[in-house]
């Protein structure tokens, strides 16, 4: 493989720098409302980029990434006031990664529809286990008092969003990522040319859970409240997949565009007309799968190419 010239990475580095500058400006000058929307946007970016690192590249659609978010949140609240806050966040990521290895080891043997349904089932299973544990402990929801400020959380979330974006960018262009892409195109053939598909899949699956775990921890600090039905809600998993479909999950810009689009739509409509928001989301999802399966980013790219010709 030819080593791409350094200049090829310039657009990516430039875009990243621009995003960092914009975020810094938001922290300094933005009001509470703007920062909180920024936080939501960064949250979805971090979640979807992490998801795309596994599902976008391998074609194994995980419908259970809410479980990692939920586990992260749970670790955070259980360790609250026992562990230093930021250590708790890191631990949340590590536990989520470990859970992913544990769940992924058996479940990555099945593929296609079975994997989709299984990841969903596993996430629900873990949710109800946590619900039972909390019920057995006699707790219905936990409050966190004295959490970091909104701006601190924004900064931390920015770090995660940037990290997940860089991971996806590097992974897509690495040996490991090529292995995953090969699995997506033809798993048997990938195996035949000497890719250890089982190890590749498991490794990246585990990796793609760490950041969602940390995101879950940060969001529990943001909400200062933990309730398992909410933290493990399958809506999170579905939204991740929807964003990926809207934006296109094949490379870094897709999830970014999808997340920005969804957050804007949700800000416009969610508070005023939640049903209408969901209906529009449904219509968009259906239309994108049918008419623009490559997502917003893919469409933009093919338009560009069309013009160049």
């Amino acid at each position: 493989m030819m080593r791409p010239a350094l200049s090829e990475h310039l657009p990516f580095v430039g875009a990243l720098a621009a995003a960092l500058v914009a975020s810094a400006a938001l922290i300094v000058w933005g009001d509470e409302y703007a920062v909180s929307i920024g936080l939501t946007l960064l949250m979805w970016v971090a979640l979807v980029q992490s998801w795309a690192a596994f599902s976008g590249l391998s074609g194994y659609i995980s419908l259970g990434h809410a479980v990692f978010y939920g586990v992260g949140a749970y670790v955070m609240v259980v360790g609250w006031q026992i562990l230093p806050v930021w250590l708790g966040v890191i631990l949340a990521g590590l536990v989520a990664g470990a859970i992913a290895l544990l769940l992924g080891w058996p479940s990555l043997r099945v593929r296609g529809p079975y994997f989709v349904i299984l990841t969903f089932g596993l996430a629900e299973f873990v949710k109800y286990i946590v619900v039972s544990i909390e019920a057995a402990l006699g707790r219905s929801g936990r409050l966190l008092i004295g959490t970091p400020s909104l701006r601190e959380l924004f900064g931390a979330m920015l770090l995660l969003a940037v990290a997940s974006t860089i991971i996806l960018y590097v992974l897509r262009r690495s040996r490991l990522g090529s292995g995953l892409l090969a699995v997506r195109e033809d798993e048997i053939a990938a195996e035949a040319i000497g890719i250890n598909t089982a190890r590749t899949k498991l490794l990246v699956f585990g990796l793609s859970a760490i950041i969602p775990g940390m995101v879950g921890a940060l969001m529990s600090l943001r909400f200062t409240y933990f309730e398992p039905m909410q933290s493990f809600s399958p809506v999170t998993s579905f939204t991740i997949v929807t964003i990926a479909v809207l934006g296109g999950s094949d490379d870094v810009p897709g999830p970014l565009l999808g997340a920005a689009f969804l957050v804007a739509l949700s800000e416009l409509l969610w508070a005023r007309a939640p049903e209408l928001y969901m209906i529009i989301l449904g219509v968009l999802l259906v239309s994108f799968v049918l008419f623009a399966p490559e997502g917003i980013y893919g469409k933009l790219r093919s338009w560009n190419r069309g013009e160049a010709q």
Partner: protein
């Protein structure tokens, strides 16, 4: 232990199994013939329930009559959804290459649309009505009349379906497509017409199940999702596309649910359902009756 041997519990399990079998049958048909993962299936159950509720409370139409109307509406919707959305999906080689994932996403969109249109127009309030709730005593088992009707209608609908697939020409064609899609097309089965038939039938069965559900429990725009999940568990248990297998799956899941919650506690219902599901997927992903299929 004596609780477990009571006829009451057995009757409850059988009623639930019949309802589950009916819901799972339609889902399995659509998956078996076209490889479409219809996670909007439960929404048709919900819709059937609402049609019955409104006909009964506003127009005074008996739920028994809705057993004809709701499936007709369901069938119409099924045909419409097939023609507008899925004909295109199945014909485009690019989309059809990942038909399962794509159908899942589309049906998820459809499901969200149905739920929220209903919530928008009819609010999320629980709706219920009282119909034939007198208790009937059979031996030492007491059951309300509407549950008895549910059991009778669901069982006969499932059995007629199985008979239809076994003995009729169109039914044989459906089975042929489930087994060998390309070969069936080669011997002259009109796949497109068959797809329309299957969509109509699958959606009609779900709507019929909805009529029955509304007779015994309250409904909301979000009542369908648990049925979708149960139906998926059942057809996975029985083997995706295996119609007889899903009857067994329904019995097994209903038994696990009813006896499991009787022994442990009703708060463990979901853990039990998902536990059984995961165990089967991990140990025998092709279903309890399935033969191992060579990986694609």
């Amino acid at each position: 232990m004596s609780v477990l041997l009571s006829g009451q519990l057995l009757a409850a399990a059988l009623v639930l199994a019949a309802l589950y079998a009916l819901v799972a049958m339609g889902l399995n048909l659509v998956y078996g013939t076209m490889r479409l993962l219809n996670i909007a299936h439960g929404e048709l159950v919900m819709l059937g329930g609402y049609i019955t509720y409104w006909s009964f409370t506003s127009l005074g139409i008996s739920p028994l009559l809705s057993m004809l109307v709701a499936p007709a509406v369901g069938a119409g919707l099924g045909v419409l959804i097939y023609i507008v959305l899925f004909r295109r999906l199945l014909r485009s080689p690019k989309l059809a290459a990942r038909v399962e994932a794509n159908s899942l996403l589309i049906f998820f969109g459809v499901s969200v649309i149905f739920q929220n249109v209903m919530a928008l127009f009819f609010t999320s309030t629980q709706r219920g009505y009282v119909y034939l709730d007198q208790v009937i005593q059979i031996g030492n088992v007491a059951m309300t009349a509407n549950r008895l009707i549910l059991f009778g209608v669901a069982t006969s609908a499932c059995l007629s379906c199985l008979a239809f697939f076994k003995y009729s020409r169109a039914g044989s064609a459906v089975r042929a497509v489930i087994q060998q899609r390309d070969a069936a097309a080669l011997v002259g089965v009109d796949i497109d017409r068959l797809n329309i038939l299957v969509f109509a039938l699958g959606f009609a069965l779900a709507a019929l199940a909805g009529v029955l559900v509304s007779m015994v429990q309250e409904i909301t725009p979000f009542v369908g999702f648990p049925f979708t999940i149960s139906a998926f568990v059942i057809i996975t248990l029985g083997g995706l596309g295996n119609l007889f297998g899903s009857l067994l799956g329904a019995l097994l899941l209903a038994a696990v649910e009813v006896y499991g919650t009787a022994v442990i506690s009703s708060s463990f219902r979901s853990i039990l359902v998902y536990g059984v599901f995961i165990a089967v997927l991990l140990i025998k992903p092709q279903g309890l009756l399935g033969r191992a299929v060579a990986a694609k």
